[in-house]
Each structure stands twice: as structure tokens, then as C-alpha cells.
């Protein structure tokens, strides 16, 4: 399986390339991609340097243009598609049918991957994007169980890429508007969930409150480590009890599923985290490179090393990892 790693900056891209990525995905420096954070991403000059660096080492570069354009900004999305074509990237990763149609008509030779934001979870949707936009690869949303992924892979008309490690989005990507409900900004429109500019950390005596646009997302006791107020990972009251009503702070880790994913015919595994530091990217990439190589060398006896799992847990939200929806019991 191809190892697809994130880069929010040139140093992160170099880290991914140097530590064993087969492909690196990046975004331009605006709201055309779903990790639109201050100080992150690539302008054209930086993208050109990135391409050169990756190409010299035989690594592919993918460009995410995967938010949903509003009419007033349409030309930003088409310029991004043109820029990606001009740079000669390996593929764009897109979700909006308008953007996919533009790329199909204007740059038919450039590969089109379907972003996870398009929320294609079944053969019918995959067939649609393949037939209409000649999409050759799709990134699957993190809502499918392992057996559902295996069943899809058996008949999929396109290559499949699945999430391997990183922040766990628990909703069908592209179909969650909870962030804009609380803040007016969502992954679909501005490329960010629970955006930092709406976050407030407030000390209340010994405890710490975290808020998103004024709404209390969580309240931490002094002995607890206060986490970022991602709205689906807060503690709320349901039926009179205070609990993580949607999900706990945890990260996805599918290292243990490498044999099953490989045998199912999955083409690529994706590491989440263009917003992360180069050091993070380097460490996660290296662990996954070693794991994939170890599987390739001895598929029959593969089992994840304790040191890999320890290293990944250390990089995880709340130091916890989960198989997420791949494991039926999580659902």
C-alpha cells in the first residue's frame, strides 16, 4: 500500500519525504482546502519548491482543493485547479462536483482523486464519480467498518485510499455542519472545524473551561489536561448525566489492520494532519514506513511492534487511540 502523508509547510513536506512517504498531500494558502489555518499551506513558489524536492526523491505530490466553492469565490477554486495543473502535480483531491467538472473539462490529463469530503461511502456513489468525472481514486470516509471497506474494495471501480492515523472525524466527512451551527464556519465552507478564532480558554477558580463561540464545550478539573474544544469531543449533559456524548478525545490508529487492508486490495493509507508540526509528520511517517515494510517482508508473521504503538499513542489526542468505525463495537 502507498503511504500518503500530510504537509502543511515545506519543512513538513521534507520531513514526510525524508522519512518514507510514497506521496505527500498539500493545500494552497486559502480556503480552497479543508485545512485552512493561519500560517499553514503553500503559495505557488513554495509549492514549486515542494514539487522539486519530492520529485527528486521519487515522491508524488497531491493537492487538496477539497472545500465547496461559493459563487463569489469560484475563480479561486478554478485558479487553484489551474495552478495544480501548471505545477504538474500527480493529482488533485477534490469533492465539489463543480470543481471536479472544471478539472475534467480543462485538464483532462490531470488525475482526479475524490476527497473524503465528498462522502462517498458506497459503490453507487463511487461509480457516479468515476463515470461522470473520471475519478481514479477515492478516499473513504471514516464511517465504514472493516468488513464494509473490504466489501467495497472487492468491487470498487476506483482505487481506494483509507485513513490510517490521526484525528478521528466521527461524522461522515462533508456531511457535518455542527461547526457552522456553533461558529458560522465549517469544513465545507472555510476548510476548518471548530476554528481557533472562536476558542476561549477560561480559568474558573481551579478548573478550566473551554468554549467555542461562547458555548461551553468542556470543563476540566485541575488534575485533567484541558484539550482543544473540538465540538464533537466535549462533555455535555444527556439524560441528566455529564458525558462525552459524541466521542472522547482520541485518535484513529489502524496499524494493526495493515494485513487486512492490504489483503482487501486497498491502494493507499492516509495519515491525517496537515496542521501538525514537521516533527510530528516525521515520526508518524517513519513508524508507518517501518510497519508497511515489515509487513511486506513477512506478511505471515506481521504484528505491530510495541515501540510503534507507543510512539503513535504519544502523538495522539488524549494519548488514546481507537480503531474507530473500522471496529464494529465502536459504532
Amino acid at each position: 500500500m502507498e503511504l500518503v502523508c500530510p504537509a502543511g509547510s515545506l519543512p513538513a513536506l521534507k520531513a514526510a519525504v525524508d522519512h518514507g512517504a510514497d506521496a505527500v498531500y498539500i493545500g494552497f494558502r486559502d480556503d480552497t482546502n479543508a485545512r485552512h489555518f493561519a500560517g499553514l499551506n503553500f503559495n505557488e513558489a513554495k509549492a514549486r519548491k515542494a514539487l522539486q524536492y519530492a520529485r527528486d526523491k521519487g515522491v508524488k505530490v497531491l493537492v487538496a482543493i477539497n472545500t465547496f466553492p461559493h459563487p463569489a469565490g469560484w475563480s479561486r477554486w478554478t485558479s487553484s485547479v489551474d495552478a495544480a495543473a501548471d505545477l504538474g502535480v500527480h493529482a488533485i483531491i477534490a469533492a465539489d462536483p463543480g470543481v471536479l467538472g472544471y478539472a475534467r473539462d480543462k485538464h483532462p490529463e490531470m488525475r482526479r482523486h475524490l476527497s473524503v469530503q465528498a462522502s462517498a461511502t458506497n459503490l453507487g456513489a463511487l461509480a457516479f464519480y468515476h463515470e461522470r468525472f473520471d475519478v481514479t481514486r477515492a478516499v473513504l470516509p471514516r464511517v465504514l467498518s472493516l468488513s464494509q471497506v473490504q466489501a467495497l474494495a472487492e468491487k470498487s471501480p476506483v482505487e481506494l485510499e483509507v485513513f490510517a492515523f490521526g484525528s478521528l472525524c466521527i461524522m461522515a466527512e462533508g456531511r457535518c455542519w455542527l461547526s457552522s451551527y456553533l461558529t458560522s464556519e465549517s469544513p465545507n465552507t472555510v476548510g476548518a472545524c471548530s476554528p481557533a478564532r472562536y476558542v476561549r480558554w477560561e480559568e474558573q477558580g481551579a478548573s478550566m473551561d473551554t468554549r467555542l463561540n461562547g458555548v461551553l464545550i468542556d470543563r476540566f478539573d485541575p488534575e485533567e489536561r484541558a484539550g482543544y474544544p473540538t465540538l464533537c469531543k466535549g462533555r455535555y449533559q444527556v439524560k441528566g448525566e455529564t458525558l462525552h456524548a459524541l466521542e472522547e478525545p482520541t485518535s484513529l490508529n489502524t496499524l494493526g489492520l495493515i494485513p487486512e487492508l492490504e489483503r482487501a486490495g486497498i491502494t493507499a493509507v492516509k495519515i491525517e494532519g496537515r496542521q501538525r508540526s514537521p516533527a510530528y509528520t516525521a515520526e508518524v511517517t517513519q513508524v508507518w514506513r517501518e510497519a508497511l515494510d515489515a509487513y511486506k517482508a513477512n506478511p505471515e508473521t506481521f504484528s505491530p511492534q510495541a515501540s510503534w504503538q507507543k510512539s503513535l499513542a504519544g502523538l495522539s489526542e488524549g494519548c488514546q487511540t481507537t480503531l474507530g468505525a473500522y471496529h464494529r463495537a465502536w459504532q
Binding site: P71, Y102, A172, R175, C176, L216, L246, A325, R328, Q331
Partner: protein, 298 residues
């Protein structure tokens, strides 16, 4: 301006569903969406049951549309979808690209629901080529967004090729997941959910630790904590190219909302309906969805 009744999002006992729609036959709505859109495990109503309700509504003069599941995962979901698309009697609302794929292959025109991501007229154009004849504005978009999209559609020569519907009343469906949050709140796994969502005919409320109503759990769907209420904006919508306004069924007061809308459409109404969870208007006015009218500066 048409008044439409969206699909029932909650899991009510079959008798209650049947008696609800029997009442709807008498309501002044033009178009009624039927079917299970939320959870593939809610199977007490078979397609035949929905078709029977559809026949009654049609006899009462309503246009009937069958709504499809929003999150399709298994082959069995696609088989159920195929049956809906092949029904031969009623229009279909596509809530996933799989439905668009089926319907466009069969050459059957369709509507898209509020969970369908259409953010610009280039996307509309692609879907019109596939058979779209009506779309519902995505919930997070504003009046300004809508009018920009309609303007762009005009530039692309699409104006007469589709009609526009806006969701104006009800708890807003804002996320779908593989996980069942209602079962989780009962400490039950999804595979043994015991259909606890039936205990919550208007969903299970979620409050912040300061007692603000934040969300509403409805199985694998997460809804808004407040009720969308755009009744006051309906006259302006009618003047700006919106063809239909949608009410989402709630256990209580839905008929009153419809009657109030009739007044709004004819320009004589008050729109002071309230909802126990509180109302919000933010999205339509370009703010966070949860924001109520009182906090929106003109």
C-alpha cells in the same frame, strides 16, 4: 409558493406514523416527502407501507416524493435504494450520490434534499445534466449565498431548468455518523440498540454543562439544539425566486406551523410561533446557525 412537508426524521411507532399522515391529508401542504432517511435499521415501515400512505396523500391532492437514506454503507442499503428509485409511482428525493447514480441511469428526474452538498451553480449544472429538477438549499447557506447561486445559475442559462426549496422550520439535521449516539447515551452497542430512539419522538436533547441546549441526538443523526424558524423570512423568499418552503415534522405543533406558513405566503400572517427548545435563524442571516433573530443586528 409551495409548502412542503419534509421526511419524518424520528422513529415513531408505525401506528403513529400512519395516523400522522392521515391527518396530513387534510393539511394545506402541496408536497409530502416520505420514507426513512436516517437509519437503515429502522425497518418497521416497509416500502409498501410508505407507498400506501403515498396513495392516500396523492388521493388528497398532494404531490408525493419518496426520500432516500442519507448514509448508505452496505450492499443491502443499495438494494433498498434501488427499490425506491424503481417505484414507478412517485418522484424521488436523492440524499446521496448513489441515488443520483441510479436515477440518472434510469433517466428519472429527481430532487435533492438539504443534506446534499450544492454550494454553487456549476454543481447544479452537473446535477441538472443528471436529471435534477429541484434542489433544497443546504442548511448552512444564507439568503445571500442562495441569491448568489441563483444569479450564477442565471449566467449559466439554467434558470428555467430547476426549482428551489428552502428548509424553514424544524430541528436541523446537521451531521450523520456510523455511530448511533442515542444507543451510546443508553450504553448500548449499535448492533444491539434495542431501538431506544423510539423513546424520543423529538430526539434526545444535549445540553452544555451550563444547561444551554446545544444539540439533539436522533440515532446516527445529530440535529440542532434549537428549532429553525424562518417563517418571518418567507415573504422575502417568495419575492426572490424560492419556489417552495419545507417544514420538518415534529411531534407537536406541525399543523400550526403549516397554517401559519399559509398566512405568510399570502402575506397576512404573524410569525410568532415558538418552540420549547427555542428558535434560531442564524444561517439564513449569515451567522452561526444557532443564533436567534434577537441577536442578529439588522
Amino acid at each position: 409558493m409551495e409548502i412542503t412537508l419534509g421526511p419524518l426524521l424520528y422513529f415513531w411507532p408505525k401506528d403513529r406514523v400512519i395516523s400522522f399522515y392521515r391527518d396530513v391529508c387534510e393539511w394545506p401542504v402541496n408536497r409530502v416527502y416520505l420514507g426513512e432517511t436516517v437509519c437503515n435499521k429502522r425497518r418497521q415501515m416497509k416500502l409498501g407501507d410508505w407507498l400506501a400512505i403515498g396513495e392516500e396523500l396523492q388521493s388528497a391532492g398532494k404531490t408525493v416524493v419518496l426520500s432516500t437514506l442519507a448514509l448508505l454503507e452496505a450492499a443491502s442499503d443499495l438494494a433498498a435504494l434501488k427499490k425506491v428509485c424503481d417505484n414507478d409511482r412517485f418522484h424521488v428525493e436523492a440524499n446521496d450520490m448513489a441515488a443520483v447514480h441510479k436515477l440518472s441511469q434510469a433517466g428519472i428526474p429527481f430532487t435533492t434534499g438539504p443534506l446534499f452538498n450544492i454550494y454553487n451553480a456549476y454543481t447544479l449544472k452537473e446535477l441538472i445534466d443528471c436529471g435534477l429538477e429541484r434542489w433544497t438549499l443546504p442548511l448552512e447557506l444564507s439568503a445571500t449565498d442562495l441569491y448568489c447561486i441563483l444569479g450564477q445559475a442565471d449566467e449559466l442559462g439554467l434558470t428555467d431548468k430547476f426549482s428551489t426549496e428552502v428548509f424553514v422550520w424544524g430541528m436541523m439535521p446537521l451531521a450523520v455518523s456510523a455511530r448511533c449516539f442515542t444507543a451510546r447515551a443508553h450504553d448500548l452497542p449499535k448492533d444491539d440498540c434495542q431501538f431506544v430512539c423510539m423513546q424520543y419522538p423529538e430526539g434526545l436533547p444535549v445540553y452544555s454543562q451550563e444547561n444551554d441546549r446545544v444539540f439533539t441526538l436522533n440515532g446516527i443523526q445529530t440535529q440542532s439544539g434549537r428549532c429553525l424558524n424562518l417563517l418571518g423570512d418567507v415573504p422575502a423568499m417568495a419575492a426572490s425566486g424560492v419556489d417552495a418552503v419545507r417544514v420538518s415534522p415534529q411531534p407537536d405543533g406541525t399543523k400550526e406551523v403549516v397554517l401559519s406558513l399559509v398566512d405568510q405566503v399570502s402575506g397576512v400572517g404573524e410569525h410568532e410561533l415558538v418552540h420549547p427548545a427555542g428558535c434560531c435563524q442564524g444561517y439564513w442571516h449569515g451567522k452561526a446557525g444557532m443564533v436567534p433573530m434577537v441577536d442578529i443586528t439588522p
